[in-house]
Symmetry: C2
Subunit: 307 residues, 2 copies
Amino acid sequence: MSLLIVGTVAFDAIETPFGKTDKIIGGAATYIGLSASYFTRKMDLVSVVGGDFPQDTVKMLQSKGINTDGLQILKDQKTFFWSGKYHNDMNTRDTLVTELNVLADFNPILPAFYQEDEFVMLGNLTPLVQEKVLAQMKTQPKLVVLDTMNFWMDVALDDLKRILKKVDVLTVNDSEARQLSGEYSLPRAAQKILAMGPKYLIIKKGEHGALLFNKHQVFFAPALPLEDVFDPTGAGDTFAGGFIGYLAKTKDISFDNMKRAIIYGSAMASFCVEKFGTERLLSLSQKEVETRVQQFIDLVQFDIELV
Amino acid sequence: MSLLIVGTVAFDAIETPFGKTDKIIGGAATYIGLSASYFTRKMDLVSVVGGDFPQDTVKMLQSKGINTDGLQILKDQKTFFWSGKYHNDMNTRDTLVTELNVLADFNPILPAFYQEDEFVMLGNLTPLVQEKVLAQMKTQPKLVVLDTMNFWMDVALDDLKRILKKVDVLTVNDSEARQLSGEYSLPRAAQKILAMGPKYLIIKKGEHGALLFNKHQVFFAPALPLEDVFDPTGAGDTFAGGFIGYLAKTKDISFDNMKRAIIYGSAMASFCVEKFGTERLLSLSQKEVETRVQQFIDLVQFDIELV
């Protein structure tokens, strides 16, 4: 029983006020898998790359406990490429280039032994592709987490709403929650979205933290106030990877354990933004992760005894 | 020994997407005093109003434990008046009218028995007026909290920097912290501002919560996710009133107790925005306050045991 991860494996070129990169390794599934690897070494990847994708990187992913039998390599095609430039506030960005390449006709195929995985992370992709993955599961997973974005709300809302009925947790950012629900107030938005299917909703607010809702409870986790954010690329996926990685490790999907998972996800995301791309995620120690989680505890911990 | 509160007592006219008010009672010192009254009934007010200010309101303030011997009533003049209109996001507003009236030449005079107060809350006012108040203290207060705003950074920065050397806690919002320090990163901004004098800095982020810094520690308190925010007017002052009111009640100015004070301040602010003006602050029960604080505990509480 492993953690099934579906999402892009890609090339990114990133420009921030602190510098710029040539083509580096990126993609939602890459960040999710690297982040989750600090919690579990039993992961199954479903994705697609071109013949230009470095074999060394595939080996690196395997060395992190990521099975790549479900990674299609289309030798005559090129890997998905995204290029973006962040503004000075680091919260907004312009997309400079999007070359779908292999992603244009991606048809996910799950090896047989993937089909009974208990935890499924559907990284941001066309809702139809996410749905095709779920349709291949032989047994009902213990937990399905779906990430999506405003683009799919614009162009594939019906598909998105259909798959929302089949997932347990949805992760979106605050403006996406508002768009999907038509409500400005996040608690109202959450209740409308939960009525669409998911039992849990995570609203990511970037530097302002994250909220976890179910129908009766709400939990808030802050982001760590960082002196410098070098590159926000992949922070949301890294958060998701830490979240589901922790749940897959502990196999406890109670609300209380999801709170812990959100803290671990937030800690992983706080590392991600400290360097360009995946660099910071490649060589963390367990000790560094635990020290960072302790910083979150110190940041929000207080003791009030009510009479 | 009482809590000394300096600030405006005013008329406001407020328009939000939910409605509008005629002239209602407002002013920083009003919100601070009403909020602090849930923690202490020993308050000394320094402010100024005109002959048009209702005597009933003065009596109401007195009934909350606010001594008004330091409230100047200039019979032939008019009370300070502010009118503003909030935008749809409730985070930004346009000032429609500012009539300084009595505030134009305000010369604060402290009755003798105010001059040994242990806790001093300097609400947002001209830095020179705030300084005149401090100059009249006979004994060094246990804690001086100063609130200010971007306007004084624009027109009276030298005065502001001078008084910053004489206060213990500064409260500003995030954009003001950035303006005052010239740093975008809030942790960097905090260290620069702490180097200007205050031992503690509170950065208010509205719906995104508040940060407390000293030179070595940081604490984050969320804002409660509210279904509806009817009127943000006075929320920052209500926060400050709850903060210093709790400290004045407990007489403990350790960092750990300031954390608690920030939670109580945040709870009071969450009530303030639920109705127009001061309405919600006038008739809360202690039980309602404690229930609200419990909501904050539930919102952020998690238990992770690190090995």
